[in-house]
């Protein structure tokens, strides 16, 4: 049996990904996480001097704090199995990636383990975030200088 034929057989036999179900679960999980964050933002707006816009920083930090608790108590992986992208895409998923790697590598010590492995999973997000921000900002700045677009 050659590779192509086998790949076809494998496709036939392996259980299909329940796409609709996964999408629905991702929508609900992601939506609920954002809803909770919206309430957290309301809290910061009501009780502290944060405006709608500036409240997003403490909200993000708070959500990552929640993510730490859920990861530490072993619940985030269960949410992840249910929600898929719904729990991976929000900032809590970024937190989960950092925090789970940190906990995991505690056994190699704080410097060699936690320190150097913390961004094992999330590092690429930072890299591509920073790099794309640089490129986009550079292009836009040049376009503005050339008078093609305005700020």
């Amino acid at each position: 049996m050659d590779e192509k034929k086998y790949a076809k057989l494998e496709q036939e036999i392996s259980p299909k990904i329940p796409l609709m179900k996964n999408i629905l679960k991702a929508f609900l999980t992601g939506g609920i996480i954002c809803l909770v964050a919206q309430f957290v933002a309301l809290f910061y707006m009501t009780y502290f001097d944060f405006t709608e816009r500036t409240a997003s920083n403490p909200t993000v930090a708070t959500m990552i704090f929640f993510s730490m608790l859920l990861t530490g108590f072993g619940l985030y992986k269960k949410i992840g199995q249910f929600g898929g992208a719904g729990s991976a895409v929000p900032i809590t998923g970024f937190g989960n990636a950092v925090i789970s790697a940190a906990i995991e590598h505690k056994s190699e010590g704080y410097v060699l383990g936690v320190g150097s492995n913390m961004f094992k999973l999330a590092g690429s997000v930072i890299l591509f975030g920073v790099f794309s921000a640089f490129v986009v900002a550079l292009i836009k700045t040049i376009l503005v200088k050339l008078g093609v677009v305005s700020w």
Partner: protein
């Protein structure tokens, strides 16, 4: 109180659905998916589309990882507006540290207080 909760839920959910499609249909790993979304966020901000989305959906737009790309770009653009090209570099590191710094901080705290929990 306001429809912002509904829009936050829907927009946040829909961004996650895009992520799920990248997982299941495009067969990308979580790392690839998240990188792609971050890049998308930063491009949307370059086009001036992400800020209106935040105004519309609140946390529904600031909590998904796309907002990370957006705020990095936003910082870079804001400085570039003031200081020209060099601002692109300095601006990027000035804003949006809250996500990274809190992840580092809480990650370290978690490493101190938690043990890897078993599966039982």
């Amino acid at each position: 109180m306001s429809s912002i909760y509904i829009t936050a839920f829907i927009v946040g959910g829909l961004i996650c659905v895009i992520g799920q499609l990248l997982f299941d249909v495009a067969k990308l790993t979580p790392a690839h998916t998240l990188c792609l979304l971050v890049v998308a966020g930063s491009i949307l901000d370059g086009l001036g589309l992400y800020e209106p989305l935040i105004d519309f959906a609140g946390a529904g737009a600031t909590i998904p990882i796309t907002s990370f790309g957006n705020s990095l770009t936003h910082g870079a653009l804001a400085e570039a507006e003031k200081h020209g090209l060099i601002g692109v570099l300095t601006g990027m590191f000035e804003v949006t540290s809250s996500g990274i710094s809190s992840a580092i901080l809480f990650g370290f705290i978690a490493a101190i207080i938690f043990k890897p929990k078993g599966n039982v």
